[in-house]
Subunit: 444 residues, 2 copies
């Protein structure tokens, strides 16, 4: 047997009592792990971790995990305010009643582990301040990119570094759809149907496809990376419903792949640094580590001053992977409870201004259908120049009496790029601006 003194368990330590809100796909896996790994948890935490109650909407349902019936209750508020509850694990999602329950739990002395990205992105500050007042932890690794440890590395491992940019594939549904379009040439509708058939997309896919889910995660990532309060409302958001098979083919011709990216960056300006957060489809080079993220996997690519380029990759959703992230938080929060300390909390000390999308710098890939006449290319180039947008490459293909120009710009403000496209659309020899997409992931 172990001849060395193990730091844990302490035989005199009381059990850490856990209340679970929600017993669905994730909650049932958390309950399963609490049971199956009880001995390991005891060794790692330094005390037994005991599930003392599960709040559900309806009693008597069949669940994915077997639990004693008397653990279940429909009175979530009574559960989270119980005197003996040390940690509340919130897995019900949405804004209310989740917010009120978390606040009540903190006020009554419980620490909280949550996977609620929507609530954290909309009103994280209310929760963080309540946790600070209560001297309790609020951990939420599972809210972004499922099983992938990304929030803790941002908050702790990179705490002595300066993060400059975060590029994330943080929505598995849209990555699955775009990956299918890339690998099979399918159109958006067909690929979405396949995702739905395989269970990667919901019947109403709006939250994923329109980028709402990714935008919430972008807000959380930007807040942590830049020590600045960024909410979902601050995030510029475009979904993937407009991405066509032709866009994907055009990206492939450029050696690129189309991904829905959550991009958070610090940008220096005359008035000092500011941050931006946005979610939109973008072309990235196939050589970029994010380009090889296939199917419904997630990955977060982090650029920092000292570390350089890091990437964190893994499953971004699913009951068991998400439960892994919840359990990691639970172990830390339980350990902190036993020592009566808080982990590294949120901070917004940097308090940087959030740039509007128009001021954010990016690059455009623009496909323009034009009349195949002398002087058209010059006129198009002039439109870019007028708005101060520098062109990196132009490719021209004649097709009978019309031609297609594919222009890739250098970095410019999104407003100048948008104004250029507007000017192009009004030009006499321009038949159509058939595609506009941002290009990301290249060295700054």
């Amino acid at each position: 047997m172990n001849e060395h003194p193990a730091p844990h368990p302490r035989p005199d330590a009381p059990a850490v009592k856990v209340a679970l809100l929600g017993c669905g796909v994730v909650g049932s896996q958390v309950a399963r792990l609490l049971h199956e790994q009880a001995d390991d948890l005891t060794a790692r935490v330094g005390a037994r971790v005991e599930l003392v109650g599960v709040a559900v909407r309806r009693l008597g349902l069949t669940r994915d995990v077997e639990l004693p019936e008397d653990l279940f209750t429909t009175d979530a508020h009574a559960l989270v305010t119980r005197e003996d509850v040390d940690v509340v694990v919130e897995l019900i999602g949405g804004i209310e009643p989740a917010r009120s329950l978390i606040l009540a739990a903190l006020e009554h002395g419980a620490s909280v582990v949550s996977a609620n990205k929507a609530l954290l992105a909309e009103d994280g500050s209310t929760l963080f301040e309540a946790a600070e007042r209560a001297h309790r932890d609020l951990y939420y690794e599972a809210a972004v990119a499922g099983a992938i440890p990304i929030l803790r590395p941002l908050r702790e491992s990179l705490a002595g570094d300066q993060v400059t940019r975060v590029l994330g594939i943080v929505n598995g549904t849209t990555n699955f759809v775009l990956d299918r379009m890339d690998s099979s040439g399918a159109g958006f509708d067909e690929a979405l149907q396949e995702a739905q058939d395989l269970g990667y997309a919901e019947a109403d896919p709006t939250a994923d496809v329109e980028g709402f889910d990714a935008a919430a995660k972008a807000a959380i990532l930007a807040s942590l990376a830049f020590h600045t309060r960024v909410t979902a409302a601050d995030v510029h958001r475009e979904g993937i419903a407009e991405v066509t098979a032709s866009d994907v083919a055009s990206a492939a011709e450029m050696g690129c792949v189309v991904k829905l990216l959550a991009i958070c960056a610090v940008q220096d300006g005359p008035d000092g640094p500011s941050v931006s957060a946005r979610v939109h489809p973008a072309m990235i080079p196939r050589s970029h580590p994010l380009a090889s993220v296939r199917e419904a996997y997630n990955a977060v690519f982090v650029e920092s001053e000292a570390a350089g380029q890091l990437m964190f990759y893994g499953p971004g959703a699913g009951g068991s992977p998400t439960a892994s992230a919840v359990m990691g938080d639970l172990v830390t929060v339980a350990r902190n409870r036993l020592s009566d300390v808080r982990g590294a909390g949120e901070s917004s000390y940097a308090d940087l201004p959030v740039l509007p999308m128009g001021s954010t710098e990016t690059r455009y890939h623009v496909q323009i259908d034009v009349d195949d006449k002398a002087g058209v290319l010059a006129a198009v180039a002039q439109a870019f120049a007028e708005h101060g947008v520098s062109i990196q490459t132009v490719r021209q293909e004649g097709r009978g009496d019309d031609a297609q120009l594919v222009v890739v710009s250098h970095r410019a403000s999104d407003a100048d790029l948008a104004a250029t496209v507007e000017t192009l659309r009004g030009m006499a020899n321009v038949r159509d601006v058939s595609s506009v997409m941002r290009v990301e992931g290249e060295a700054e």
Copy 2:
């Protein structure tokens, strides 16, 4: 300005005083970051972080960072035992005097941050026990895979999960060499020369090429992943000097790439679970996330029961990336000092037996030059069967009066596979077993 109460800094908190051992490539970057990010560190730690001394071998040298001359000393022992030093950052490497200095620092009440993989892999337990006795932290994120946050995720983020396997590319030099061999068809010597010319390999590349560096990291990873004491001596080690251009080409034909992998796994057996740790070149499928790790980058691929497959990617060496990892540890350790707590320490409660290499299960890719005669394939197949090794695929290519057989086995014990190769070498119609390489990275 920030209208919300920031948790930090506390105006009444004393400074956290840091002593640095070593001011070379990494140490000078740590000193630079301590200076340049002083305000951010104060906000993140909750108190000023002050560099109070730097121990070096010789005074008066020009360094990569400008520091007041009176910070330098050649008396490292006096520095680490100073009453006012809160944290010692050990960056001198090697076993002694690093071990004695770390032990002295802990005994005198300092917490320690170290990047010393050799020492941790050889005698980590002595250090962990000293830290435990002193109620101080010993953190060492920088010891494995440079800037990549991997130890903290293993120790904390996955603390509520069960890690089953870790596959790591943890040595940048060998990855650069193998990547060049793969992309250019170069032989080992030529690729190594290129690595040396570019500064990716040292003049004496033994520690990297022969796998000593990776083996130390494998021991650290296995210890953390499986809560079991694994030392460098427990790690089976083979380097890349025997990898030929033909091996790399043969891997390519199979849709694979050759990587030097550090592999740590839990294996169930009749007497319960046991662990294995090994470093050797292996073929992995090009579709595996590790296959796309190019040049001198590192990546660690983690498989766990609940999370599934995760990968952590980034620069595995270099002054500034390694300093990022050191600084992340420093922030946590400093925070813990202010609260007078320890972070999650090491644990070896699982205390699993370490399997010898012969009992480890793996797969072999074997190239056999044989006489092109009837019955040879049957005889070769019989040799595998005799040793209980099941064949997955055989490819045969005739070349005049001889032929080449390429056999890929199913999983079997390394001893049975080695015995099979031994038998093949003694067979009448076998001219040569020209290449033997393990195959990894496929689903179990």
